[in-house]
């Protein structure tokens, strides 16, 4: 069943890209939304700021739409978005080094539609984990941070993370591994045990 859905999704995407190339404004909006959403989610983790993530996501989506004629395989649309997101997010981080802003990390902000509790976790403990993780992520090298975001926000396999980061699969695997190790060794996260932190499973 999942394969059928994926197949259908790919067919829809191919169709949207074809309609966009033919000048259909509805397709432009659909693809703009898809690209902005993907980029926004990654950028939010990397930048910890909805405002900055919005700027990055919009730049990414504009680049994606403008470069769409160059995309030979429409089903590679999402990968294309991730690749451009990586470039823009790294640029945004560089810009930020020159002008640091203070903002509540996005991971800490309550979401209006957030369920009362994510299955298996005590909300208070989860909030602490988010706070600690946001701090710990900010200390990781950029590429490790991106790899973590692509894996845990978009559920991408190593192969697609590698494509987005422009590296070999082994390198992506290593980045993820090193990133996770660094998080585990981070003092604020080292003591965080799901069982003692409130997880019930």
């Amino acid at each position: 069943m999942a394969e059928i859905n994926h197949g259908q999704a790919r067919a829809n995407l191919t169709d949207e890209v074809a309609r966009y190339r033919a000048g259909d404004p509805t397709a432009a909006e659909t693809l703009a939304r898809r690209a902005t959403r993907l980029a926004l989610r990654t950028a939010a983790v990397i930048l910890s700021s909805r405002e900055e993530a919005s700027d990055v996501a919009q730049d990414v989506a504009v680049d994606v739409l403008r470069s769409l004629p160059k995309l030979r395989e429409p089903e590679a649309f999402d990968g294309w978005v991730h690749k451009i997101t990586v470039r823009h997010a790294m640029r945004a981080l560089k810009r930020r080094q020159h002008s640091r802003t203070a903002e509540t990390p996005l991971a800490l902000l309550p979401e209006p539609d957030e369920p009362a509790a994510i299955e298996g976790y005590d909300p208070a403990a989860l909030l602490s984990a988010r706070a600690a993780l946001a701090d710990a992520l900010a200390e990781l090298p950029v590429k490790q941070r991106l790899a973590i975001a692509l894996r845990y926000v978009h559920d991408l396999p190593d192969r697609e993370i590698a494509a987005a980061l422009g590296c070999r699969v082994g390198t992506a695997h290593a980045l993820l591994s090193r990133g996770r190790t660094a998080l585990r060794q981070n003092p604020s996260l080292a003591a965080l045990d799901p069982t003692t932190a409130g997880a019930t499973r």
């Binding site: 909006e29 902005t36 989610r41 919005s54 919009q58 504009v62 991971a107 993780l133 926000v153 799901p194």
Partner: protein, 397 residues
């Protein structure tokens, strides 16, 4: 064995997995992506051009329509449920304001069949920092042709005053004028056949004095009387007791001026925020008399003037012994008069100025028996200039 497992990272990053782009963000992306690439001009020319664009934006106050959904589009929106339920909203107007960004006005009916008009500022990111992003009104929109000065607190917090509403039939434009030479004219927008009417929005800079709105018909001829919107430019109304006294039967009273807060019941926004309100409170209400009575809003027929009443006692099918009639009056008013059907002034009371940090208004209260109000009218008067407000009916029962 690691204490930080994958599922915890997953759970901790859950907010990022749910973020959705806003409509305004998508509008900007599509507009930028489909715009023809331009050559960058030299820095000095660019600065000048930017300054010119800024000035034009400020003067024009509201830009061209850029909403994603064209007029007549029907979509499943929140209505005034704040996400709790969905209603079918129809877009009746849209555009972009200089500071508040993209906006749209929608019309819809609540579950109880009440017509509503809703202004929504689509730039959610800005809204989250600067206050609420929607405003509106539920009531007889169709019958209230001049329902006018919207109450978008959202706009206020972004540094501009937003006025909006439905225009009378035949109104092709709406013009805001002020004593300090401000004049902003915006065309009305005609809704689709399924949702008839003309709708308008003006986003004006702060600080316009003596602001009033007037509709313009064919050949830019003014239609109807100007609507006083000055209170929208005078900042928030801080609650204050503006008058007090003692009535022979109702006893001690206080007249309080304040600003309405948004009230929504079952998705029916029966009171928008930001309207001027006046309420009389009785210190020692006699039996059968309410301890307070008042209201919020404006009189479209008499700009800056309102009439509310408190009956003492308020038994059903019984004539009250006393009626306290009261309200707000324009700053230029000296007195409020009750005029009989013969045109005689049967009662006159001096108005009192409001608090300094409130709107440029005066307040009035007159205590009468019900017979005095039989077939009577009420109006404000400026004794220095002889100017009088329109005579309005007053309830004698």
């Amino acid at each position: 064995m690691s204490k930080l497992d994958d599922s915890l990272i997953h759970a901790a990053l859950a907010p990022a997995r749910r973020i959705e782009p806003t409509d305004a963000e998508i509008v900007r992306v599509v507009a930028r992506a489909t715009r023809a690439p331009r050559q960058r001009m030299p820095l000095r020319r660019r600065s000048l051009a930017l300054a010119l664009v800024g000035a034009l934006l400020l003067t024009a106050a509201a830009g061209a329509a850029t909403g994603l959904l064209p007029i007549g589009s029907v979509f499943e929106g929140d209505g005034f449920h704040d996400g709790a339920r969905k209603v079918n909203e129809t877009v009746v107007a849209n555009g972009t304001a200089p500071k508040s960004g993209p906006w749209r006005i929608t019309a819809f009916e609540t579950e109880r069949g009440v017509s509503c008009l809703k202004l929504e500022l689509l730039d959610v990111a800005a809204g989250s920092r600067n206050g609420p992003r929607s405003s509106g009104y539920c009531g007889h929109i169709g019958a209230t042709e001049a329902f006018g000065h919207g109450t978008a607190e959202a706009g206020d917090r972004r540094g501009e005053i937003i006025l909006f509403g439905r225009a009378p039939d035949g109104a092709r434009a709406v013009k805001l004028t002020g004593a300090n030479g401000v004049a902003i004219t915006m065309p009305t927008q005609t809704a689709s056949a399924g949702m008839p009417g003309n709708y308008w929005l003006i986003a004006a800079p702060r600080g316009v004095e003596d602001a009033s709105v007037r509709f313009l018909g064919a050949d830019d001829r003014p239609q109807g009387a100007p609507i006083d919107v000055s209170y929208r430019f005078s900042g928030r109304i801080k609650p204050a007791i503006v008058m007090s006294g003692t009535a022979p039967f109702a006893g001690p009273w206080k007249l309080k001026a304040y600003e309405s807060e948004r009230s929504v019941v079952d998705g029916d926004l029966y009171q928008p925020e930001g309207l001027p309100c006046q309420t009389v409170f009785l210190g020692d209400p006699p039996p059968g008399t309410s301890g307070g009575s008042g209201g919020c809003g404006f009189q479209p027929r008499s700009p800056g003037f309102t009439i509310h009443q408190l009956r003492a006692p308020a038994f059903v099918n019984t004539k009250p012994k006393e009626i306290l009639s009261f309200g707000m009056s324009p700053e230029s008013a000296d007195a409020v008069e009750i005029v009989s059907s013969d045109g005689d002034v049967v009662r006159s009371v001096l108005v009192k100025p409001g608090p300094q940090d409130g709107p440029d208004s005066t307040y009035w209260l007159v205590v009468t028996g019900p017979d005095v109000l039989e077939d009577a009218k009420v109006r404000w008067v400026d004794r220095d200039t002889g100017e009088r407000g329109p005579e309005l009916s007053i309830d004698p029962s």
